[in-house]
Every structure is written in C-alpha cells, then in structure tokens.
C-alpha cells in the first residue's frame, strides 16, 4: 500500500489506466496518508466519499487525487487563504484552475496551508500555524505555497497546485526538494484564485518530477473567458522526453551570481552547471543589470496591488466581522485589525503608502519603470541564450523563527525568483542536490532555477527533464518519512 505512495503521478496514472490499481484504492491510500499529516500542511482534508473529493469518473487524470493551496476557491469547501478574516468562508463558486482539474477526472484530496494571502517565504505567516519541513521539522518549508510543497515532499499527496507571485512556488519547492513551476503570466486562469498582486500572481504545479509538472500544466493551462488577462499556452503541453542538452545555451547572470549565496548552495549550483555541460549544453555569462533592483520594485508593486485587493475584506458581505456595534469606521477598523496578521498589515501599509498622494511617482511609478528595464534585460539575455539559470534561493531551508522578526532578510529569499515574476516569464525549480546549512546539520535540498522566454514552457520542461534525469534526485533522495518503510538518507 505504501509503495502506491512512492509512484510518481505519471506512473500512478498508468497504473490506474491499466486497471492495475483501482481509483478508490489509490484515493483511499492518499486519504489515509493525508489523515496522518504531522506537518500542519493541510487545512482541509477530504474524507473518501465526502462532498468535494468526487471527481468525474473519466478524463485524462481520472481518479488522480490532488492537493490544492487554500488560496483557490472551492464551492462549499472552506477557503481561507491562511487568514483569520476568511475563517469559515465557503465560496459560492470554484476557481477555474480547480474546475479544469476536476473536469479532467481529478479528485480533491485536500486544501493546503499557506502564508496568509500568500505573503511570506516561510509559511510562518499562516493564521493556522506554520507548516513543518518534512526534511527537518525544525525548519520552514518555504512559502507561500509551503503546504503544497510539504505534502508532495512528505508523501501526503501525489502532487499539488500552488501560486507564485514572487517565488511562492519555486522557493518552497526548492526547500522541500521537489519540482515547482511558475508558468508564463497568463498561461493559467487566475479566476477564483484569491488575489495577492494581480499583475504577478500565477498558478502552477508542485510535483516530484518534471513530467508530472508537464502533465498537470497541460490540464491547468488555457484561455478563460472569466479572466481578461489569460492567454493559455498555444499548442498545449506534451510530456518531456529530451535526454540531452546539446545545442542549448544556459546563461548565468553575472549580477545575480555575485550576490550572497550560501557556500553549500553555490557548490550544488556549480555542480549542476557542470552537469549541463556534460549533457552537451553550453554555459555562458549573461547580464541582467537591473535584476538586482527586482526586490525593491517588487516590494512596491506587490504591496500596492495587495493593499487594493485586500480592501474588500471589510466585514460587510462575507467573512469575519468585529465591532459591528459601533459605527461603520469602527466596524471596518476592528474587523481588519483583528482579521489580518502582522505581515499582511505590514504589506497593506507599505502599499497604501506607495500609492498615496505625493508618493505615487517616487515609488509605484519608479517601480514600474524598473519592471520595464528588467523585462528588457531578459529580452537581451534571451537573444544570446536559451535559458537563464540561478540558484532558486540563496540558502537551504532555514529554521523556524530564524528570520521571523527581520522582514527585509525574509524578503531577500525572493532575490533570485522575483525578476522572472516581474518579467512575467516562466521559471522552474528542480531539486539539484543536498547541501549543509550554514550553521551545520543534516543536508537539505537545494533548488536549481531555469527561466525561459514567455510561453516557452515546452522547451523549458524538455530541458529541465533532461537535467533532472541526469541529477536523479527523486530516485536517490527523499525525506525521512516515518510512515514509509525504508526512508531516505536525510
């Protein structure tokens, strides 16, 4: 039964299709595993046969369970985005991304924990407690899609979907030793995905293998009449089968490389560059002069949009209301002050300030111009190389509480992932190896980020797959999982 949980999603789909395993048996195995969640990774779990977990009988993913970040609205099933202000909220509708999955036969296994409104890089900002990293429970799984990363790495779900605004899929995937893909902005509908920063938010898969990511992306992507900004991926997505990298050029941004990266992470990164060359790929230096300003631009644009997106949580139509016995303003302020956590308040303050009269040009206006420059930098780089590669994060998973009271240090986690978000281009993080944390201790996963031009997902997946086969991380390593015999090498 437990070896069922060791199948990749692609293997499981074949087992289900061939009838070797029954959908109910397979779902029951995962439901049982999810029930044993010791990582605080799930906020809601389906009981087999319970409403919400029933997917259509057939379809390309018939019988496949999926874990969904709690930022996606699911009709009749509590959806909180990790916030107190939405506690008990049952959406009257289902997000397009989730609908596309269930239409393909997928069964909803559970809703995963996350940083409140996707604001965080450690999952410590959830109103429902932090998620633990399955590799080391003293450490964070990354964020904001930490729950989705932890359930996949911890064998509590075969795969999951999350959202990435500045690295919220890629960084937790790196910290948990799995694959995380942020598609091109517009590839997947945002309808029903609770908004953090509308011009940056994008849904994507968190999986154990690149093939699983391709399989999920193929179902998720597509133009949606409910999302004016959705485009889809022309020609769809096919399973990657490339085995070498000959003829492909990989660019290492000089500006990003020179910045502070832990020795262990740098070691894995260098080794991965060598593997690229062994596979016939070419490694070159490229220049992204404005990329180092990505964090500054991002921490103006994202909070500005968030301050407006989160203004609707006012205690009038749904969700939490406090102070309803006072006048209107007292109700607003009490509801929002008690409903939002510290990081969300911080970002709302930052964004409101950046948009307020007298500061718009200096902050929001200037940040949008930096955004233009960063996009132009990537255009320039992709004229010379096929892909831009960086470490996904400057360090391996850090300890719970380590950065909790230093917002800026926390924001620096997004240093390598934010530029791609600002440019709207696709980027994937694949596990490239293990490295010791700076302070010493058991080795932890290191992510390798590959970015491609907009809508070049197929090429990106093909290359990532070839490299993944060479690295063989998923075959060789896995976290110590008490409820699986054997267990990994830690």
């Amino acid at each position: 039964m437990t070896d069922l949980l060791d199948l990749t999603a692609l293997e499981a789909r074949e087992a289900l299709a061939s009838g070797a395993v029954s959908a109910d048996e397979y779902f029951a195995a995962w439901a049982a595993a999810a029930a044993g969640d010791e990582l605080n990774a799930y906020l809601w779990r389906a009981r087999p046969g319970a409403p919400g977990c029933a997917g259509q009988g057939d379809g390309p993913l018939a019988g496949m369970p999926v874990a969904v970040k709690d930022i996606f609205c699911t009709e009749g099933i509590e959806t909180t985005a990790g916030s107190r202000i939405l506690e008990g909220y049952r959406p009257p509708y289902t997000a397009t991304a989730v609908q596309r999955l269930t239409d393909a036969g997928v069964r909803l296994l559970g809703k995963t924990n996350m940083d409140e409104f996707a604001m965080g890089s450690s999952n410590e900002n959830s109103a429902y407690g932090p998620v633990l990293n399955p590799w080391d429970r003293e450490r964070v799984p990354g964020g904001s899609s930490g729950g989705s990363a932890a359930v996949v790495a911890g064998r509590l779900a075969p795969w999951a979907i999350g959202t990435d605004t500045g690295g919220s899929i890629r960084q937790p995937a790196a910290f948990c030793g799995i694959v995380g893909l942020k598609p091109t902005y517009g590839a997947i509908s945002r309808y029903g995905m609770i908004a953090f920063a509308s011009s940056l938010d994008q849904c994507g898969p968190l999986t154990r293998t690149v093939s699983d990511a391709a399989l999920l992306l193929g179902i998720l992507q597509g133009r949606d009449a409910c999302d004016s900004t959705s485009v889809g991926l022309e020609g769809g997505v096919s399973l990657p089968d490339r085995e070498d990298l000959s003829g492909l050029r990989f660019g290492v941004p000089a500006e990003l490389a020179r910045d502070a990266v832990d020795a262990g992470v740098r070691g894995v990164f260098e080794r991965t560059l060598a593997r690229i060359e062994e596979l016939g790929g070419e490694v070159a230096e490229v220049s992204l002069p404005s990329a180092e300003h990505g964090i500054s631009a991002y921490y103006v644009i994202a909070p500005a949009e968030a301050s407006s997106n989160l203004a609707r949580y006012d205690g009038v139509r749904y969700g939490m209301r406090q102070g309803g016995d006072g006048d209107l303003i007292e109700m607003y302020e009490t509801t929002r002050s008690e409903g939002f956590g510290a990081e969300v308040k911080r970002r709302i303050m930052l964004g409101t300030y950046a948009l307020s009269s007298g500061y718009y040009e200096a902050y929001y206006g200037q940040a949008q111009k930096v955004r233009t420059r960063i996009a132009q930098d990537f255009d320039g780089a992709f004229a010379e190389v096929d892909f831009v590669v960086t470490p996904t994060a400057p360090s391996v998973a850090f300890e719970l509480g380590e950065k909790a009271d230093d917002p800026l240090a926390m924001y620096m986690n997004d240093f390598f992932t934010v530029p791609m978000s600002l440019a709207g281009i696709p980027a994937i993080s694949i596990p490239a190896g293990l490295a010791e944390p700076e302070g010493g201790g058991p080795r932890l996963p290191v992510g390798f980020q590959i970015a491609a031009p907009a809508f070049a997902e197929q090429r990106l997946l093909d290359a990532a797959h070839a490299l993944e086969q060479e690295i063989g991380f998923d075959r060789e390593h896995r976290p110590l999982i008490p409820w699986l015999q054997g267990g990994g090498d830690g």
Binding site: Y89, S199, R317, G326, L355
Partner: protein
C-alpha cells in the same frame, strides 16, 4: 463691487441601457427585490475578476461621437480606492488619466471628457436598534452595483442656473435619441451634479466652487443652483469667502447641507487596474458607432434655423421631438412651394392644438392626418380657396376621420365665396341692418367695421375672405 457672474460646470452620470452589468453577466434592473441581481463578481467575493461589457463600450463610443469628442485610440481603466459599503471591492473601476472620449462640445458648451465606470450599490438607512452607540444601520442592496455608467464632464462654460438647466435638457434629449440610456432622473438613470462658483464679471480666473448633488429633476437642478448662487453672492458681498465642499440638495426644503466625505482627505490612490487590458476601439467599432448616430437635436436646430429660417423656439420644439420633426419635413416636402415657417407653424400650432383638442395620443406622426393631406390643406389656404378659419375646421375633420381636405371642403361647403355679386348682396344687407355701426364708421371710428365684417362672416359661415369683405364695405361708405 463688480457684479458677480455665475460659473457653472456639470458632471452628468448616465446609466447605460445595456442588458447586463459593466463587469459581470447579472441583468440590470430597477425596483426589484434587493440583492436578486448579484453574483460573486458584483459582490466582490475573493478571487473574482471583471470582464468588460462590449455593448457598454459601444454605447460610450456613441456618446463620445455624439458629443463631438476625440476618441482615445488606447484607453485604460484605473482603480479608485475608497472604503464604503456601496463599493464592494472598496474600489471603483473607472477611467482616470486616459478617458475613452475627451475635448468635445454640445451646442456652445465644451465637453471636457466622457469616461466609462461602474455604478455603486444602494444603501437604505434603517432606524436604530438599541445598539450601544450606533445611531442605526444601513441595508445594502447590490442590484444596482456594477451598472455601466458614462460620466460626462463639461468645462465651466455655463453662466447661469437657467442656462445650465436648459443645456442639461438638451444633453438628456441627445442621449435619449441615441437610445443608449433611459435618462430618467427620478429613477437615477441620469444624475446631474453641478460645480458652482461666482466671480467678478469679466474676471478670467475661477472662484472657489462647491459641488451640488442629488438634484433629481431639472426643476430641482435649477432651483438648487439658484439657491447656491444666491448663497455665494451674499457670502462674498458680505466680505466672506466660499469654502470648497460638497452640498446635498433637499428638494423638499430647498436647503443645501454639506455632505460628510466618504474617505477623509479624498486620497483615492488611483492606479492602473491590473485585472483588465487596454481598450483600443477598432475601425469597425468606430464605424458602427458612427452609423448608429441619428441626426441629433443640436444639429437639427442649427439646420432648421440656417437652412429653413425657422425661429429658434420653433426649431427647438421640433428638434426635441424627432418623430414630429420628421413629420414636419415630409409635410414640407409634399407642400411644394410652401414657406417652411408656414408649414412649421401649422405643425407646431394648428395641428398640435387640434390633436390636443381631440385628445389624440402619439403626436402628428401617429394621427390620421398624413403629411400629404396637411400639405394639401396648407395649399388650399395659401391659394385662398379656403379661409384660414375654415382651414381649422377642415383640420379638425382630418384629425377625426382623415381623408382628403378638398373632399371635406366640398362636403362641408367651406369653399371660399368667389361669386362677388352674392357677397355684395350680403354686405349691403349687413350695412342696412347695422345702420348704427355704419354711422360710427362714417364719424371716424374705424373699429366699428369689425361688427359689419362679423355679421357678414356669420351670414357666410366664415366662407368669405375678411379682406375682400372690408374692401366692399369701404366701397359703399
């Protein structure tokens, strides 16, 4: 002190008569049960996204073109952020620095801009309910929330309350004839706010303005502006200064009371709406909008005065009622050689009166009187075949039963008397019967001739020509 001149600009919100809301598929409604036309989008549930209504864009283009505006080749939506229960997202999606239409005019008044936005929900104040220190509560009904609006902003070109109210009527008529809105002020599908200030006559710079809201009829609009102008003039003449504020007009008392601001400091923190992509009207959209434009009142008024020489008031009367205006034009075409003035007077005068008399609904175009028959009647009168008085009798018959005026004249024996020997006999009899009147005339009282003419007319049942009758009388004095 120089006399203070009024400076008025208007902001008009027009609810578009689309079938669905601006950003979701909920149907528009008026007066329905609360919250029966809502959905996650117009209730701003988490995760929803707006998708603009194509018909609203087309209507906005028609309004822009009708107001002779420049259409922006590329315009975007912004978010106007403020907290209020009538704004479910806590921001209104509106156009800010690039409106879809700008720099136009209607008549003599310049249009600053016309932009697209969404309407707010309705709030009904309900009484207190023993709350700790609440003075009561409001109930929010989101049926109206998200209705497409075009906001039209004029330059401060209006110089008086009456002028402003009349121009607003012209605008209403213009939008009505476009067929893009019900423009019903009572129901709020047309809402007019006024920016009012005064300044020394001849001065170039603007005085401090106040904004008047909630004037839900043209009469109240004018009364509100008059009241505010008077208040400002008194204030300044007493050496005081106007403070910029928003005033709420109470039609009942005629009082103007300051409104509490929705968001202190009015810092709306506008920024480009990231959930929407730019609007770039295509050639096809612009052509369709142009082709959809009827001839609008302002143009008709100009043409009637310049080409047909009609008086301004007659031109306005006709232009405000396109059906009657068309009826007038086909009558004019049928009555070859007739003076446009004369035909216009028959349509807006005699015919309108006859229809009112007979309580006929639906105006001239809906009546039994065809343009051809009216033209024929006008010709009979002009050629003196029928007296003007008998003409009205014929018209009454036409209104009642329709048909051919000549036949009615024949049937009723209304033809003007041509046999002068017969008329002369009647005239001489009348003079004999009214010797007194004859005496008075001889002694210089010309008015007395009226009595003789009247007597002849009675005898001839109005078939005689008044001029001819007095000529015959004078001959015989």
């Amino acid at each position: 002190m120089a006399e203070l001149e009024a400076v008025i600009g208007l902001e008009i919100h027009v609810q578009l008569a689309t079938r669905t809301k601006m950003f979701c598929g909920c149907e528009l409604s008026f007066g329905d049960e609360p919250n029966v036309h809502t959905c996650p989008v117009c209730l701003a549930h988490p995760g929803v996204l707006p998708v603009p209504n194509e018909q609203a864009i087309r209507y906005a283009l028609q309004i822009g073109l009708a107001l002779e505006c420049e259409i922006a080749p590329h315009s975007i939506f912004h978010r106007k952020n403020y907290f209020y229960p009538d704004s479910p997202k806590a921001y209104q999606i509106s156009q800010y620095d690039i409106p879809i239409a700008s720099n136009g005019r209607l008549g003599e008044i310049r249009i600053h801009r016309a932009h697209l936005e969404e309407d707010a929900a309705k709030m009904i104040h309900v009484g207190s309910s023993g709350r700790i220190h609440g003075s009561g509560a409001s109930l929010v009904d989101f049926n109206r929330g998200g209705t497409p609006l075009v906001e039209i902003v004029t330059e401060p070109d209006l110089r008086g309350a009456a002028e402003a109210a009349e121009w607003a009527r012209l605008l209403r008529e213009t939008v009505r004839q476009l067929g893009v809105s019900d423009v019903n002020m009572e129901e709020g599908s047309l809402r007019v706010d006024a920016n009012v200030s005064v300044r020394p006559a001849g001065s170039e710079q603007l005085g401090t303005k106040t904004e008047l809201k909630n004037m839900n009829s043209f009469r109240f609009l004018q009364r509100g502006m008059e009241a505010e102008l008077a208040r400002q003039r008194e204030l300044i003449e007493a050496g005081g200064a106007v403070t910029q504020e928003t005033l709420h007009f109470d039609p009942a008392s005629g009082a103007l009371t300051p409104l509490r601001s929705k968001e202190e400091a009015h810092d709306y923190r506008y920024f480009p709406e990231p959930d929407l992509v730019p609007l770039a009207p295509t050639e096809e959209m612009l052509r369709e909008a142009r082709e959809a434009l009827p001839e609008l009142p302002a143009a008709r008024i100009e043409r009637y005065q310049a080409e047909l020489g009609l008086a301004p008031d007659v031109a306005l009367t006709l232009a405000s009622d396109p059906e009657t205006a068309d009826y007038f034009e086909s009558t004019l075409a049928a009555a070859d050689g007739a003076e446009p003035k004369v035909v216009a007077n028959w349509v807006t005068g005699e015919l309108a009166a006859a229809l009112r008399q007979a309580e006929v609904e639906g105006g001239a175009s809906g009546s039994r009187v065809t343009p051809e028959s009216l033209a024929a009647l006008i010709a009979l009168v002009q050629d003196k075949k029928v007296s003007h008085g008998s003409g009205k009798t014929v018209l009454a018959a036409l209104v009642a039963e329709g048909g051919d005026p000549a036949a009615i004249v024949e049937r009723e024996g209304l033809a003007q008397m041509s046999d002068s020997s017969e008329l002369e006999a009647i005239v001489e009899k009348a003079m004999a019967d009214n010797a007194a009147a004859v005496e008075q005339i001889r002694s210089g009282n010309q008015k007395a001739i009226g009595a003789l003419v009247g007597a002849v007319m009675r005898e001839t049942k109005g078939r005689a020509d008044g001029g001819e009758v007095s000529r015959l009388i004078r001959e015989r004095l």
